[in-house]
């Protein structure tokens, strides 16, 4: 039986930049992002795929990074909350969450914002019902969700304006 390597060395592409990293092969994408790349913006609430807090985008699709092995991510496009802002300015989703109360304790916020980004990238005209459906896997204990939905709807409007 071939020995399992202690650490893997590979190159991930995170937020548009190449990130060489070495980690134990059993590690999840969540763990590698947080522990080996220092990107602690992505949170964890269960590490069992139940809460949505660790959502990041993999090739544009929202995934639960606690359920993805990092070694499967080589050559794929990883997007996290750290890469969302536009330089010094906030992305419309970020601004709307901050302005409209979409974020209270802020712990579920990165996961739900990334989920919303994936939705709006695909469906810029998402209705409130579609927003609720897309974010139903992101648990939040503070807001009661309404201000999250409102924030995503406002950001969607702004993004549509920008696209015009």
């Amino acid at each position: 039986m071939a020995a399992v390597p202690q650490r893997l060395h590979l190159k991930l592409t995170v937020n548009g930049e190449e990130a060489p990293v070495s980690f134990a092969p059993y590690k999840s994408l969540l763990e590698v992002l947080r522990e080996d790349l220092g990107l602690t913006g992505t949170k964890h609430g269960c590490e069992l795929g139940e809460c949505g807090a660790c959502t990041v985008l993999l090739d544009g699709e929202p995934v639960l990074s606690c359920l993805v092995l990092a070694l499967e991510c080589e050559g794929r496009r990883i997007e996290t909350i750290e890469g969302l802002a536009r330089g010094a300015g906030l992305h419309p989703l970020q601004a709307a969450f901050a302005d409209l109360g979409g974020s209270q304790c802020g712990y579920c916020t990165p996961g739900v914002i990334m989920t919303a980004k994936a939705l709006l990238d695909k469906n810029p005209d998402a209705t409130k019902e579609e927003i609720r459906r897309a974010t139903a896997g992101n648990l939040c204990r503070c807001t009661g969700y309404l201000q999250i939905t409102e924030a995503i709807a406002r950001a969607a409007g702004e993004l549509r304006e920008e696209a015009k």
Partner: protein, 818 residues
């Protein structure tokens, strides 16, 4: 010379703004406890008891100690000193040799990484000697032995108490009706999104630094000093912003003590982050409460007296239990006029994770009971439930039968508001076809009038520093748990100084840098921290005004601080706020001030009168519409109307968020959330285990389940509160549970007298209804509880002095009247 008394319109207070910590939260820059890492950091894992009740006969840690990568193994013998949040319930050891629930930690491993620590846990050999499991309060009453703790009122009763304010039997005897109901409220848990985490290290100065997801760094600081037997001055506690608290991070916790001890022993940073399953074992959530209400009413719907009995399932430790026990009764007379009140409460120890404070702390349970009972009373008296309530709301500036001082109240206005907005009169008893509306009200405190440990010190302290750069930095021990604590602090300072909240830097929750604030609990932060901040800001403002007036050659009393300027309306002379700072720094030296706040002394003088008093009370009223499917029992909630008496809104975005968040949590408790337990089969251990320690199985509402919520903030500024602002974090949760139960009754005519109100209960009740039986699901009886002889206190209305009247004195007084 005093500060300017000139009134101007509020510029910051009441305006919708981005919260001061908003940007950090949406960029992922905010550091929660588990986001922190230090060089040479080690990781800790705890070995938890698989038995609900057992003694550790022996524990062999040699295998774990020798395991590669393990640096330290700790057990009970490393922790001779116990801790506990309340001085009367110091009953927990960081690691125990007497497991009181499944999940109680008995050993800890500190290793290079979590994986290694976990592996080493499996090498620890523990021989447990199981004890009889006490599974619920009646079990605890039946079985005084084996005792879960060797302290408490008797056997497995932790707290047992009885109070009588005026002669309740006499009041009930002369009532037109006496209503007797038994209710049950199941326990549930906070389920914060952030799992608790703590990082301990020894700083360069040789002192211990404990950085933790705690709501109460001050109390943790005190308990660390106790457990580690170190002076508090050698320990610094930093509360990281909490990823949700809701009361679950109020208690000092085992894991915090363990990593602190390990970091001291090893001289290296040690971190722990609980798994989600462990968060369920840490718990400290809502107590399951069985309660009985006997309430006298007149035929025109006025209450004459109430005899309230509660029985609490406390779980394995004291936690905040002594306070929780009081809170299952003491606020009951604050909502509606209740001339006489008898309140008996008993908290039992059981072999489950300890219950403690969850949003509303002890009060949602009796509130549910009273509001459902009022619905029944209104129906019997043929009165509209809203009208009945409007006739009995408590008056402003009054004293309750149990000697609580009510200041302002907007309850009547809250009721009128939700009645109008929901078109209650068009809907109640009129919707038909499985649709209904229900109404309920509530009250909450704006901070506990007394601290958790007895002292005469301020409850909150604030320090303010200004310098020639224009920087305004405010320091306070208060803790940001998502509720907006930092934003409240910045708002109050900014409003007083006439600047923007963006100009204020908040440094909070750090016992090494910030003045003491007791913590984020009991809805105390806005009022207590706010008043302290206001005092500090007014003091600095007086200095600024004096220096600016001298330069402008005007009188300081006429100066107005507004929009980043200091100006004199009479002469139209002005200067920038920054200039005023520089002149003041030149005139007085380094600029700064402190402020502090201590609540007013409560009027009650009897033993136990310290729980319940508050500088102010908030009030809420709620209407819920429900649609009940008679085939499935499924309850759909399309809309909720809620009005909250907030005194004054500091930031409407945050206030609305707190109200909706409270409604959400209340609705989850009502419909699905349960911290429930089951017995393993006999062939296994028959252990009492958590039924569902995961987020998938512990159901909570999602974005799809959340109804529309119409929020009305009722503003009637309270003179005891900063700019009149009352609490909003806890109150709005409280009326939701009974409003929903009352709506279900309006919809399909069945009473679910217990929480949660689940489809299976609705279906069973409908079956009872269809077979002509009493269509009610709920507890059938209240057990015999050996409550003590009541402490008797004459009410304020009957000429009492706030002190206990002994039985002999009552007899003598009665004889004298005859």
């Amino acid at each position: 010379m005093s500060a300017a008394p000139v009134k101007r319109r509020l510029e910051v207070v009441g305006k919708a703004r981005r919260r001061v910590d908003g940007r950090a939260k949406v960029t992922g820059q905010l550091r929660f406890a588990d986001d922190l890492a230090l060089p040479r950091m080690l990781h800790c894992k705890l070995l938890r008891s698989p038995h609900p009740h057992a003694l550790v006969e022996s524990i062999d840690v040699e295998g774990a100690r020798r395991h590669p990568g393990v640096h330290l193994v700790l057990t009970k013998q490393d922790f001779p000193v116990p801790f506990g949040i309340m001085p009367v319930s110091i009953d927990e050891f960081p690691l125990t040799d007497h497991a009181r629930h499944v999940g109680d930690p008995v050993a800890a491993v500190i290793a290079v990484d979590e994986q290694t620590a976990n592996d080493a846990l499996g090498l620890i050999q523990v021989r447990f000697s199981p004890l009889k499991t006490i599974s619920d309060p009646e079990d605890a009453l039946r079985n005084p032995e084996p005792r879960i703790h060797d302290y408490g009122d008797q056997g497995n009763i932790h707290r047992n108490q009885s109070y009588e304010f005026g002669d309740v039997d006499e009041a009930l005897a002369r009532s037109d009706h006496v209503f007797e109901d038994v209710f049950f409220y199941q326990g549930n848990t906070h389920l914060p999104m952030e799992e608790q985490a703590t990082l301990a290290t020894v700083e360069g100065d040789g002192k211990l630094l404990v950085t933790s997801s705690t709501q109460n760094p001050h109390y943790l600081h005190r308990q660390l000093a106790r457990v580690l037997q170190m002076p508090g001055s050698k320990i610094r506690v930093v509360a990281t912003p909490n990823g949700g608290g809701f009361g679950g991070k109020c208690d000092p916790a085992n894991h915090e003590m363990v990593v602190a001890k390990a970091a001291l022993a090893l001289g290296r940073p040690v971190k722990i982050c609980l798994t989600r399953e462990e968060v369920f074992y840490q718990h400290r959530g809502r107590h399951p409460v069985l309660m009985k209400l006997r309430t006298g009413v007149t035929k025109d719907g006025r209450l004459t007296g109430m005899h309230l009995q509660t029985l609490l399932d406390g779980g394995g430790y004291g936690s905040h239990g002594p306070a929780s026990t009081f809170y299952t009764g003491v606020l009951t007379p604050v909502t509606y006029e209740l001339p006489r009140f008898k309140f008996e409460a008993c908290r039992t120890f059981t072999n489950k994770p300890a219950c403690g404070p969850k949003r509303g702390h002890g009060t949602p349970q009796p509130r549910f009971g009273q509001e459902v009972q009022l619905d029944k009373i209104a129906e019997r008296l043929n009165m509209d439930p809203a009208e009945l309530r409007l006739g009995i709301v408590t008056k402003p500036d009054s004293l309750t039968a149990n000697w609580l001082r009510i200041g302002t109240t907007g309850l009547a206005e809250c009721i009128r508001e939700v009645v109008a907005r929901s078109e209650w009169k068009k809907r109640f008893r009129k919707l038909g076809q499985g649709k209904g509306v229900g109404l309920a009200c509530s009250t909450y405190m704006c901070g506990a009038g007394l601290p958790i440990y007895w002292n005469k010190l301020p409850h909150s302290g604030v320090q303010l520093l200004l310098d020639r750069s224009g920087q305004v930095t405010v320091y306070c021990g208060a803790t940001e748990i998502g509720q907006g604590s930092d934003d409240v602090l910045a708002t109050i300072v900014a409003e007083v100084l006439g600047i923007d909240t963006g100009e204020v830097r908040c440094v909070t929750g750090d016992t090494g840098m910030t003045p003491v604030d007791l913590g984020s609990y009991s809805s105390r932060v806005t009022i207590m921290m706010g008043n302290a901040a206001m005092q500090a800001a007014e003091r600095v403002k007086a200095q600024l005004a004096e220096a600016a007036a001298e330069q402008l050659e005007v009188l300081p009393a006429g100066l107005v601080f507004s929009n980043g300027k200091v100006f004199d309306p009479a002469s139209s002379r002005s200067m920038a706020f920054l200039e005023a700072i520089q002149y003041a720094e030149a005139k007085f030296g380094t600029l700064g001030a402190v402020g502090s706040y201590t609540p007013p002394r409560p009027p009650g003088r009897y033993k136990g009168s310290g729980v319940g008093p508050s500088p102010a009370y908030s009030f809420s009223a709620c209407v819920i519409e429900a649609e009940v499917d008679a085939n499935t029992g499924w309850i759909h909630v399309p809309k909720i109307w809620i009005a909250h008496d907030i005194g004054r809104t500091l930031n409407p975005v945050l206030a609305r968020g707190q109200v909706i968040g409270g409604v959400y949590m209340g609705l989850g408790e009502t419909l699905m959330e349960e911290q429930a337990f089951r017995r393993l089969p006999e062939k296994l251990s028959q252990a009492l285990v958590h039924r569902m320690p995961s987020m998938l199985e512990y159901k909570s509402l999602t974005a799809l389940d959340m109804p529309e919520v119409d929020v009305a903030l009722i503003e009637d500024p309270d003179p005891n509160c900063p700019f009149g602002a009352k609490e909003v974090g806890q109150g709005p949760l409280l009326p939701v549970m009974p409003a929903l139960a009352n709506a279900v009754y309006d919809a399909v005519g069945v009473r679910i007298d217990e929480i949660p109100v689940t489809p299976d209960k609705v279906l069973r009740a409908l079956e009872l209804k269809n077979s002509g039986k009493n269509p009610r699901i709920g507890p059938e009886r209240f057990p015999s509880v050996p409550y003590p002889e009541p402490v008797f206190v004459v009410t304020p209305q009957e000429g009492g002095d706030g002190k206990e009247t002994k039985r002999e004195e009552r007899k003598r007084a009665a004889a004298a009247v005859v």
